[in-house]
């Protein structure tokens, strides 16, 4: 597990968001607190797409992650597990491999924002006119995790993943209700991305890295890629009897 959200300074890149704006944004949300070096470090994290040092660290730890740093991944794992906890219904996000799924998605055209219209100018408007931020999913995570961890540390002097579940839930609820903002990124936009991707990781075909051993599908009662109900269409009072099969042929 990672230990500290305020990760070591990382090489910054040319991409948005601009560091100055990040610091300003965090400053706004943490007005009553001493920023010290924290916001600067957060800004560094937010402005870095890729960290060679972090990648090496992960490889040493035996994981295959490439986009998220170890610290970010620790946050992601803890947050996903609260959104989708292990319980008597079935496995939670960690057991299903949801964080690995999200990591994988960061390295797709979608993760890089290549399937969204990202051209400027970026202006704000009413919610019903939809997403208007200049951020790709990668940037939403980078900024959102750094911002959340900085925000959490002010209140609890500890990173999100080290806090008790009830506290983690309270923090996620605050994000959901948009209690703060990380630069131009509303906390709720970060939360919705996290929630949406967690659900996808729990229920997408295992070929994408989540839904391990089709645990999500078994819980839901979804037969996966069987996709042939010719004989079951009109057996009206008989629930479909077979467990799932995945695209790779795994059965459950």
């Amino acid at each position: 597990m990672a230990h500290d959200a305020a990760i070591a300074p990382l090489p910054s890149s040319a991409f948005t968001p601009k560091r100055r704006r990040v610091v300003q944004g965090l400053g706004t949300s943490m007005a009553a607190l001493s920023l010290g070096g924290l916001a600067t470090q957060t800004a560094e994290a937010a402005s870095s797409e890729q960290s060679p040092a972090a990648t090496a660290h992960h490889q040493e730890a035996g994981t295959s992650t490439r986009f998220f740093t170890a610290a970010e991944f620790a946050f992601l794992t803890a947050a996903c597990e609260r959104l989708f906890p292990e319980d008597d219904m079935g496995p939670g996000a960690t057991m299903l491999g949801v964080p690995d799924f999200i990591e994988g998605q960061m390295n797709t055209p979608w993760g890089r924002g290549e399937k969204w219209f990202m051209s400027g100018p970026h202006r704000t408007g009413p919610d019903n006119l939809g997403y208007q931020l200049p951020y790709s999913p990668r940037q939403i995570y980078r900024i959102g995790i750094a911002g959340t961890q900085a925000w959490v540390r002010q209140q609890h002097n500890a990173p999100f993943e080290s806090l008790p579940p009830t506290t983690q839930d309270a923090i996620l609820t605050a994000l959901e209700h948009n209690a703060t903002q990380f630069d131009a990124l509303p906390a709720s936009a970060f939360f919705e991305q996290l929630r949406s991707d967690t659900i996808e990781g729990a229920f997408a075909d295992p070929t994408h890295g989540g839904n391990r051993h089709m645990g999500g599908w078994k819980m839901m009662g979804f037969p996966g890629a069987r996709a042939d109900y010719m004989d079951w269409v009109d057996r009206y009072e008989t629930p479909y009897p077979y467990g799932p099969v995945s695209i790779s042929g795994e059965t459950g």
Partner: protein, 593 residues
């Protein structure tokens, strides 16, 4: 980037979806040399529909594999005239297709005709309720073509699509238990209806008990093996539940790729070019004659394709966009209610009610097809609108096309938990025991709802984005609420454990964040009056008579039914008149204003 001009052809068709494929086939049969240009890539069922790789919800429905990538070009949206429109950056509310087959590859396959009254709605409403019944600001119009004129072309389209359904009357005689409100037919459906899935069966029973008239929805999903008039073969639907958003691996869902392109490719006078994004229609110095189109290929080259006849058959709003970019017809001005291109932009007015059955009933929502069970008791003008004071209606139906777990789990209800243990329990319960009843309603045209060019944002081709000015109006909100309220009796008869009625809320603006439907209509509508329609009754531009514009852009207002059946019939209708009249004439207008 290079400029290049190709040898001229008789006709160029923009878009390789249903409308384009039908037009290209008809024109090739007439002996014309035809080039069809598609801005997306090549697609085939053999590749894009291959089992099991295609049975992937994340790729297909969540990441929009077969849909337009908004990074290339999109639209801007606003609700009101005095508001700044903002880009539609992420696909959500509507999902235009891209690639060979267009929206015809990813559609569900619900295949309706149009109601006769819908095709002449202004005349019909005026005759039955009087002219003063039409609200101020509503641009209610007729199509300029009647059901009787279109009937042979509806019939033709059903035979090409291999449509499964149950007729009510053929040649005036009752032949089956189909929709009693449906207009008369010259022939039965080519295939019998698909079997009811469990939830459709429950709805059929409950709707009957509630006093309504349920019928099997017509679906371009083959209920049995079928060979269409072009010799194209379809396999039988196995209810796999991957209809909407996917290429059908069973070859059971009609698509241009399965039902027309194999035959079209046999014509030596046919050429299909994919990855060819048409930038504009070229006009001569008079502005009254098109000389061809210019398109951009994947290397950024601008290629001119000269042609004697130009068919715009792209998706609804792309057709309007191309007309505006090319200067074909007069752009609509909402202040003076004049001009025609961009006028009468409409949508479809859909809300989905969720019914939760007792835990002993497994709804098996993953089983699905384009079939289902509908009632038309509150569609169109099938009920007396006099005391209600609104125009329009909505069929109600269970059209279970397969609910997959990502979409199922993301669906939320007001006040219900959205994550954590309580949410998980609720999500599983809902997925296993709930189902959806859709109210798919008409949307009238309004003076201040229209399409034009955006003043701020451009696409990757450097052209202004199309701007949508759209909101829900009082007439349509009241229609939706009235029709959905009629579900009460059905829900009681179902013995439901719980129900969440979804209705249009007064004061809640059109929201681009939630999927509603891709049934966008109008913007370049057909009609008899060049002051209120961009196209004449044959879909020919009033202004540039060697340009025909084929698609749902031609609908003067949105109807309760899905648009594809009418789009296909209008394509065959237009093609028939090009073949029998326009090609034999001097290339001028088929209608004198």
């Amino acid at each position: 980037m290079a400029e290049k001009t190709l040898p001229p052809v008789d006709a160029v068709v923009v878009g390789a979806g249903w409308a384009g494929s039908i037009m290209a086939k008809e024109l090739c049969e007439a002996g014309l040399s035809v080039v069809m240009l598609e801005r997306g890539g090549r697609r085939s069922t053999a590749k894009d529909g291959a089992y099991p790789a295609s049975i992937d919800e994340l790729e297909g429905a969540t990441r929009y594999k077969l849909f337009q990538n908004p990074a290339q070009t999109t639209v801007t949206v606003r609700n009101r005239l005095n508001q700044e429109a903002l880009p539609y950056r992420r696909l959500a509310a509507f999902l235009p297709g891209e690639g060979v087959g267009g929206a015809g590859l990813h559609w569900t396959g619900v295949h309706f005709r149009a109601m006769p009254q819908d095709l002449r709605l202004r005349s019909h409403i005026t005759e039955r309720y009087g002219k003063t019944f039409i609200p101020d600001g509503m641009n209610l119009q007729d199509y300029g073509v009647t059901y009787e004129e279109l009937e042979p072309f509806f019939d033709r389209a059903e035979k090409v699509f291999g449509t499964s359904g149950e007729a009510y009357t053929v040649d005036g005689k009752v032949v089956g238990k189909g929709n009693p409100f449906a207009p008369d037919r010259s022939d039965d459906f080519p295939l019998p209806p698909l079997r009811d899935v469990y939830t459709a069966h429950l709805f059929r029973k409950a709707a009957t008990e509630a006093g309504f008239h349920p019928y099997a929805m017509p679906a371009a999903n083959a209920s049995h093996p079928y060979t269409n008039p072009y010799g194209a073969q379809m396999g039988p639907c196995n209810f796999c539940g991957y209809c909407s958003d996917y290429a059908c691996y069973m070859y059971a869902k009609a698509s241009p790729n399965v039902n027309i392109l194999p035959a079209l490719r046999q014509h030596a006078n046919f050429t299909l070019r994919s990855n060819a994004h048409v930038l504009k229609v070229l006009l001569d110095s008079t502005g009254k004659k098109a000389t061809g189109v210019v398109y951009q290929d994947t290397e950024g080259n601008h290629i001119t394709q000269p042609a004697g006849l130009v068919i715009l058959a792209a998706f609804q709003f792309h057709n309007v966009h191309l007309m505006l970019l090319s200067g074909i017809g007069k752009p609509y001005d909402p202040h003076s209610n004049s001009g025609t291109v961009g006028r009468n932009f409409t949508y479809q007015n859909i809300t989905n009610t969720t019914v939760l059955m007792p835990p002993t009933r497994s709804t098996d929502q993953f089983i699905g097809s384009a079939g289902g069970v509908a009632i038309d008791d509150f569609n169109c003008d099938n009920f007396d609108h006099g005391p209600l004071g609104f125009i329009g209606g909505s069929p109600l139906w269970v059209n279970q096309a397969g609910v997959k777990p990502i979409a199922g789990a993301k669906a939320t209800f007001p006040g219900a938990p959205r994550w954590g243990r309580a949410w998980k329990k609720r999500a599983v319960d809902t997925y296993r025991h709930a189902f959806t009843i859709n109210a798919q309603g008409s949307n009238m045209a309004y003076r201040d709802v229209y399409l034009d060019l955006d003043p701020t944002w451009t696409n990757v081709y450097g052209q202004p984005l199309l701007r949508m000015t759209f909101d829900w109006k009082d007439n349509d909100i009241r229609m939706n609420r009235h029709v959905v309220s009629k579900l009460d009796g059905v829900v009681k008869a179902l013995g439901a454990r719980d129900v969440h009625y979804s209705m249009r809320e007064p004061g809640k603006p059109f929201d681009v964040r939630d999927y509603q439907t891709t049934h966008l209509c109008g913007g370049a509508v057909m009609g008899d009056d060049p002051n209120t329609s961009a196209l004449n009754r044959y879909l020919q531009s009033w202004d540039v008579p060697n340009v025909f514009v084929v698609g749902a852009n031609a609908f003067p207002q949105g109807m309760g039914y899905n648009p594809t059946g009418l789009v296909a019939a209008l394509a065959y209708w237009s093609a028939h008149h090009i073949r029998t009249q326009w090609l034999k004439g001097n290339g001028g207008p088929l209608v004198t204003p």
